[in-house]
Symmetry: C2
Subunit: 147 residues, 2 copies
C-alpha cells in the first residue's frame, strides 16, 4: 500500500529482472528516487514505462531506439494516455513493414528455395534492402538491416 515500490516489487510486477532494471536506469530508460539509505524507490508510473520498453523490444526496437522514443515524452509531467499512444503510433508502420517482409519470405520459400533459380545476389527476396551495405563492425543486425 506504499506509494513507492522497491526494486524487487517492480521486478515481480513487470517480470523484468532487477539487474535489468538497474541496467535500464544506467541507460537512461527509467529513473528512480532514492531512500534515505540510497536504495531505489520507484513511483508506480514506472511500470507503464517498463511495459512500453518490453513492448517495443518485442516489436524489434533496440534499447537505444526505445530510449530515443522515451525521450520524446514530456519531461515535467506524468505522461498521459495520449502521450503514450503518440509514441506507439510510429510503431504501427514498423510492424507493418516487418509483417510484409515475413509474408514476402513465406511466399518466396518454395519459389525461391524450392526451384533452381535461387541466386542470392539477384533474388530480391533474399536480399531486400541490400544486404551488402554493412553496418560497421560487430554483429550485423540479426534479421533486417536496420538503419
Amino acid at each position: 500500500m506504499e506509494d513507492l515500490l522497491v526494486i524487487g516489487d517492480v521486478a515481480r510486477r513487470s517480470g523484468v529482472a532487477a539487474s535489468a532494471l538497474r541496467f535500464y536506469e544506467e541507460r537512461g530508460l527509467i529513473r528512480s528516487e532514492r531512500s534515505d539509505g540510497k536504495q531505489r524507490r520507484y513511483p508506480r508510473e514506472v511500470l507503464r514505462r517498463i511495459a512500453f520498453i518490453v513492448f517495443a523490444q518485442r516489436i524489434g526496437l533496440s534499447l537505444e531506439e526505445i530510449g530515443a522514443e522515451l525521450a520524446k515524452l514530456p519531461p515535467n509531467r506524468a505522461p498521459t494516455g495520449r502521450d503514450w499512444s503518440r509514441l506507439s503510433k510510429t510503431w504501427t508502420s514498423r510492424i507493418d513493414e516487418r509483417v510484409a517482409e515475413l509474408e514476402r519470405l513465406r511466399a518466396g520459400l518454395t519459389q525461391c528455395i524450392g526451384c533452381g533459380c535461387l541466386s542470392l545476389d539477384r533474388c530480391s527476396l533474399a536480399n531486400p534492402g541490400d544486404r551488402a551495405a554493412r553496418l560497421g563492425p560487430g554483429p550485423r543486425y540479426w534479421i533486417a538491416d536496420r538503419p
Copy 2:
C-alpha cells in the same frame, strides 16, 4: 568458367563476407574442398546452401537451428528442390506465428499502452508465453522467448 569457386567469388555472389563463410564452415553449416595449396574451393551448390542460411536468418532462426535443419539434408547426394522445400516447410508455421504475434502487438498498441489498463503481469499482449520463464544466462532471445 571454373567448376569450383574461391571464397572471394562466393562472398561476392552471396553477399556474405568471407569471414562469415569461414565462420559458417567452422560451425558446420557449409563445407569446402581444398586446393593443393590448402585454399578453400566451393562447388557451385554452396550458393544455394548459403541462400538457405540467409533466408532462415531473416525469418529468425539461429545458426544452431539452421545447422540442425541442414543436417537433415541427404548426406551423400546433392539435395534436390524437393529436399529443400521439405526443410522450408516447417518455417511457414514459424512465420505464421511471428506474424500473428506482431498483429497481436499492433492491435494492443493503442488498447494496452494508450489506456490506463496496462499492467505487465496480467496483460497477455505484453506477456505472451510467460516472459518470466527465463532462458538461463546471457541475453534473452530478443523478441520472443524461443524454446
